[in-house]
């Protein structure tokens, strides 16, 4: 199996917008010492996100989303059904699909497998380093589900490495 990049997206000082960063940080802790994993924090999507994926076989992207669902709800998407999560696209450069296509035509090695996890946010407009309680509860759920996903490609399940 090739390398996997885990990318947490969001704004660390904007309440629930930081949920992707929080989950990525926890995954970094749980995967410490395991080879083949890189964890990245990104505060901007688009080109940055494409560049962070380059060189890896698999990418797992975790972001907040505001889609009208119940706060703390967890969604999983592939690139084909990419929703508008909070940060995956960028207002400043390109949408993620355009950025990925640019990377491809420029000859970058981009992951064949991309999974996007999104957590429904309750508050993305208040400066705070805390998540709202519903979104906080989603953090361990997503961590476990991502680890379960990763298990599928490993001989030794990661969840036992706690």
């Amino acid at each position: 199996m090739g390398s996997t990049v885990i990318i947490g997206l969001g704004n660390p000082v904007l309440a629930d917008d930081s949920v992707g960063l929080r989950i990525a940080a926890e995954l970094r802790r749980r995967l410490a010492g395991r080879s083949g994993f890189t964890t990245v924090e990104l505060y901007s999507g688009g080109m940055w996100l494409m560049e962070a994926m380059a060189g890896h076989e698999r990418a797992i992207v975790i972001d907040a989303i505001v889609s009208g669902g119940t706060a703390g709800a967890v969604y999983r998407f592939g690139l084909a059904d990419l929703p508008q999560t909070r940060t995956a696209d960028s207002t400043h450069d390109a949408s993620l699909p355009v950025a990925l296509e640019l990377g491809r035509v420029a000859g970058l090695h981009l992951p064949g497998k991309v999974k996007i996890w999104a957590v429904e946010a309750a508050d993305v407009e208040t400066f705070s380093e805390r998540l709202t309680p519903e979104v906080e509860r989603a953090v361990p759920l997503v961590v476990e589900q991502v680890l379960r996903d990763l298990d599928e490609c490993l001989d030794q399940p990661l969840r036992k490495n706690q």
Partner: protein, 491 residues
């Protein structure tokens, strides 16, 4: 013609995040256009009581797009707050990082956002008006060149700033990390490539855009022309300086109106509040707020790459100066230039005027000096720092108690400075397409996009966020405020 007063209730306001509203008068002509943005709550409260020296890290997290600009404005404010003068090498390292940031940011804007309108064409379908369209038109190598330019400058920022995205090395009184000789060599190489790439980009602009009569006519036309005051930062000789200097304002005729250090900004700039948006409209205090109007009697000003060239007597480096002269010659020797679409050209000239000092700094013998920190001895109580962010003059203002704990924080970001000007440009674009209640939908979204895009607005910072991508939505409202048409484009 009078516009009926429209009261927007708070619910409507909240729905208006990042949307454009065009208000018609009773005759069905455009009365006003507004760019609505969300309000983020509690930034000052979030900062109050924190240690002032945390601000370069906190403020650089406000925005994922230009953290370097916040980091620099913040450390400069801290120098003043802690009454400490950084050693020369520290100032040079800060500026070196900042120049690398400017090159990558302007590159991204030109090739991914602003350039496609011209290189691919203003009426091309949105699916083609992006960087892939630029690659199809200019060639595959341009895609690689843009990615390489971003990669090498991000690497420089990481080497100098400690982290790839959010620099952490800025401290009151200097910088936490000196530059090694191998790093310097790498940075020098990156700077040389940046100069070549900036010159190449200017050639692309000249050949594909300026030599095309259609685009040239559009750039020179009155559609996107606003005769406002211009703002930017200049050095002691009046030359453009993106990192440090005094703020200069020239009037619509090009005469100096004000020249002041950032610490005096409150004497020159005040903020107007409108009932329909939380974002404020800064204006020139000595002129006053006269509404969304052009001209010397209106306090509206702009701060963009174009206005920065307008306030500068010259550029500090030879190749950029050549381009500066060519630019004004192309507009018949008139200065200031008020045709806002020329901002894209000015942005490329700035890219060169950042790449050249980057090389000068990278080859400066002092850049590898280990003396990069002066230790603060006291708290002065107030610190104001400013830089030119890619999208306009950026000011950080902090007040702290005797222990250095923050009591008050005020930020004026580039896009906020341009808020009134952006609304005026959108209105002017809309006026061409709406007459007596008849709306020409064809091309409207494109023209309106071009109107605000030239300012390179970074809304993640002005408001301090926006949902993921720019899904353009234009609502046309009757004189009574009812929405009569909504034009939408997915991001």
């Amino acid at each position: 013609m009078s516009m009926k007063r429209v009261t927007i209730n708070p619910v409507t306001r909240l729905e208006g995040h990042g949307k454009i509203d065009i208000f018609l008068d009773e005759d069905g002509n455009v009365a006003n256009a507004y760019f609505q943005v969300p309000e983020l709550r509690g930034f000052e409260q979030f900062c109050r009581g924190r240690q002032a020296e945390d601000m370069p890290q906190i403020t650089s997290r406000i925005c994922g797009v230009c953290p370097e600009a916040h980091h620099m404005a913040s450390v400069k404010a801290l120098d003043q707050l802690f009454a400490v003068e950084p050693p020369p090498a520290a100032k040079k390292i800060r500026e070196l990082l900042y120049m690398a940031f400017f090159v990558t940011d302007h590159t991204t804007h030109f090739y991914a956002l602003g350039g496609p309108d011209f290189i691919v064409g203003p009426d091309a379908p949105p699916a083609e008006r992006n960087i892939l369209g630029v690659v199809r038109k200019v060639g595959l190598d341009i895609g690689k060149a843009v990615i390489e330019c971003r990669a090498r400058n991000h690497h420089v920022i990481q080497m100098l700033g400690g982290r790839g995205i959010h620099p952490t090395a800025g401290l009151p009184g200097g910088w936490s990390k000196s530059v090694s000789e191998p790093e310097r060599i790498e940075i020098e190489e990156a700077a040389r490539k940046n100069i070549d790439f900036a010159l190449f980009s200017l050639q692309v602009f000249e050949k594909i855009v300026w030599q095309n009569p259609v685009y040239r006519e559009m750039a020179e036309s009155d559609v996107y022309c606003h005769r406002t005051y211009s703002m930017g930062t200049v050095d002691e000789q009046g030359r453009l300086n993106l990192y440090d200097g005094q703020i200069r304002i020239v009037d619509p005729e090009g005469l100096e109106f004000a020249l002041y250090p950032a610490s005096e900004y409150l004497d020159h700039v005040a903020e107007h509040v409108e009932p329909w948006t939380y974002l404020k409209f800064p204006f020139l205090k000595k002129i006053g707020w006269k509404g969304f109007q052009d001209g010397a009697t209106s306090g509206v000003y702009a701060t963009t790459p174009l206005t920065r060239l307008n306030v500068a007597s010259s550029l500090a480096t030879p190749l950029a100066q050549e381009q500066f002269e060519k630019f004004y010659a192309a507009f018949g020797g008139r200065k200031p230039v008020h045709q806002r679409l020329a901002t894209h050209w000015a942005r490329l000239i700035e890219m060169l005027s950042a790449a050249e000092p980057m090389l000068e700094l990278a080859t400066d013998p002092e850049i590898t000096s280990p003396d990069v920190r002066a230790i603060p001895q006291r708290v002065s109580g107030t610190g104001v720092g400013s830089v030119e962010a890619p999208r306009g003059t950026l000011i950080h203002h902090y007040e702290a108690d005797g222990k250095g704990l923050l009591q008050r924080v005020n930020l004026i970001v580039g896009t906020t400075n341009n808020h009134a000007a952006i609304a005026m440009s959108i209105r002017k674009a809309a006026e061409r397409l709406i007459h007596a209640g008849k709306v020409v939908e064809e091309g409207m979204l494109n023209r309106i996009e071009m109107a605000f895009r030239l300012y390179d607005p970074c809304l993640s910072c002005a408001t301090h966020s926006l949902p993921g991508s720019m899904r353009l939505e234009v609502r046309i409202r009757s004189h009574a405020g009812e929405i009569i048409r909504t034009l939408r484009r997915e991001g």
